[in-house]
């Protein structure tokens, strides 16, 4: 809903992502703030922010796949892993620069995701979710059992930092900028996808796949495309991850990580790109808080031990997912839009 007094007089205006001058100003200020972050906060926080940005890209992909197209995907971490491994192999074995490996990682992962999305030909709903679990299991098996000079086996692969015209992205600050730029591009792209023809087909299929099929949407193609796009985002995120950690191993991409990603879109809000980012920030911040408070907690309650922090984190996360689904299935973004709406129409009730 637009603020009072804002009317669209042309189609382009009606379709615009940024609708008012106030929104333009706050968007630009926000992006400026993000660019100035490394000068405002310490390196520890910058590292956390980089991880948030990387996860943000992956979760936006999941949001398109699950939140918009309604296809439950429990293999997003495996898709991310495919991207990370592709980038690592291309960079370390073939010496390709990062501006080639990142898109190629996305493409490779998209292909992997597309194959599993194709199973929509025969199955739907939770059966489709099962294929993504199988994807997760197969990814692990393949990485661990293919000849280790191909994909590194259980040792993982190390790679050189990304570099551009002699500038090496090896500090926390520089890799943060790389992640930030890629995330901005990918977020913009996501808005474009969900606003356009594909996004509308996704939403139609999510709401009722039988009905949308009768209205002329090619359901199978739409579902496969959703997996393709979701996996592409995961692949790009995975490639960034590879450059950030400079080491990929199979245990960075488990079913458990996939579930974390699902939790992020549930908390942020299904069917909203911004919601995906909000979910990432909230969940990652809580995760960080637990991890950084862990040693203190252990000091205060020595009987708990280090494992307890991990356990408490799980209890918190599981409880959060369940609580959100029971009390606010539409996530934080829905709450936010309620607040915004009541602010805009104040003092009237509706």
């Amino acid at each position: 809903m637009d603020p009072a007094g804002v009317f669209s007089t042309s189609f382009a205006r009606d379709e615009a992502l940024v609708r008012t001058r106030g929104q333009w100003i706050s968007l630009i200020l926000f992006i400026l703030l993000m660019f100035l972050m490394p000068y405002l906060v310490g390196p520890r926080l910058i590292a956390v922010l980089s991880v948030m940005l990387i996860t943000g890209v992956v979760v936006i992909g999941l949001q398109i796949n699950t939140g918009y197209a309604g296809q439950i995907n429990l293999g997003q971490a495996a898709f991310m892993g495919v991207g990370a491994y592709t980038a690592a192999i291309l960079a370390s074995k073939f010496g390709l620069p990062f501006w080639l490996t990142i898109p190629l990682a996305g493409a490779c992962s998209a292909l992997f995701g597309f194959i599993f999305g194709l199973s929509a030909l025969r199955i739907k709903g939770f059966y489709l979710a099962l294929t993504t679990i199988a994807a997760q299991a197969l990814f692990h098996f393949l990485v661990l059992n293919l000849p280790s000079n191909w994909v590194g086996g259980s040792n993982g692969i190390s790679l050189e930092p990304a570099s551009l015209f002699g500038f090496v992205f090896d500090s926390d600050r520089s890799i943060y900028y790389l992640c930030l730029v890629v995330t901005i591009i990918m977020t913009y792209g996501a808005f474009g996808i969900v606003r356009g023809w594909h996004g509308r087909a996704f939403v139609a299929v999510r709401d009722d796949d039988v009905a949308s099929g009768m209205m002329g949407v090619n359901v199978v193609k739409t579902k496969a495309t959703a997996f393709l796009i979701g996996a592409f985002y995961a692949g790009v995120g995975g490639a960034l991850w590879a450059y950030y950690v400079r080491f990929v191993a199979v245990d960075q991409f488990t079913l458990f990580h996939s579930i974390w990603f699902i939790a992020m879109i549930i908390v942020g809000g299904m069917g909203s790109i911004v919601g995906a980012l909000v979910g990432v920030v909230v969940i990652k911040a809580v995760q960080e808080a637990f991890v950084s408070m862990g040693p203190d907690l252990v000091q205060i309650f020595p009987q708990l031990g280090g494992e307890m922090v991990f356990a408490m984190l799980n209890i918190f996360l599981g409880g959060t997912i369940a609580a959100f689904l029971i009390f606010e299935p539409r996530g934080l973004m829905h709450r936010w839009s309620i607040i915004k709406r009541s602010y805009r129409i104040w003092p009237f009730p509706y």
């Binding site: 294929t131 197969l138 494992e307 307890m308």
Partner: protein, 294 residues
Amino acid sequence: MIDFLTYLITGALVGLLYALIAMGFVVIYRASKVFNFAQGELVVFGGFVVWWMVVDAGLPLWAGLPLAFVVAAAFGLLIERIFFSKLVGESVFAMVMVTIGLLILMRGLILVLFGPAVRPFPIVFPLQPIFLGDILIPRSLLIGGIITVIVGFGLSYFFNRTRMGLRMTAVAEDHQVAMSLGISVKRSIAFAWILGALLSTLGAVIYLSGKSLNFLASEIGMTALPVALLAGFESIAGVLLAGIIVGVIQGLVTGYVDPAIGASFGTVVPFVIMLAILFIRPTGMFGWKTIERV
């Protein structure tokens, strides 16, 4: 030949164990159309409760085991009361997502309640194997297999022939319709979760008897998925056959293919089977075909 028969029989018995775990899936699915991703965690929880009763509290087996089953049933009821009674009438999507939340929650809960250490599981069935000629059969799996078959046919009768079982099927079909016919949706779902928890604990007892236990044992929940899928999620007796098929294939692959390629292909065989079923016949062998209308 002896090798072949050993792989075959052990595979079939392991398959029956998968079938028992898969029954937990099917029971909850039959009664609420909810796909319980936390099945493996229920197994681990059941295992830890048995450990708690028999090893930690030092109760004798004849008192500790029944008590453990009572605790597991109470836990199943608790899950329903806390989560699923609030979701009556909500979409299946939300309920399945809650089971994913439950998976994570229980993992943490198990760590907090029982600690991260690897625990010895009590020896419920005698350890020495049975020799059939030259073929060696693990005793716990054999006894477990017999129990599984009995439980499978019993549950099948319950769901297809008794009033309570048919009620639960009606609830799975549509909450609103079931309610308007005077069926208590909450009670049916609660009963399904109690059954699921009990079956998981039984599975834990057979699976873990005489072995060690920590939260990684939940992997068996994911391995049992293909079994439930091959049977078709609605069929309980079919799970037995599906379990034997998956178990035998896995046993033979582990026996013959793994040494040849030098990799543990056997562990992913269930998932390969799962993908194959999903692509060829998603409703499984005995699943119900549904017709959808707008």
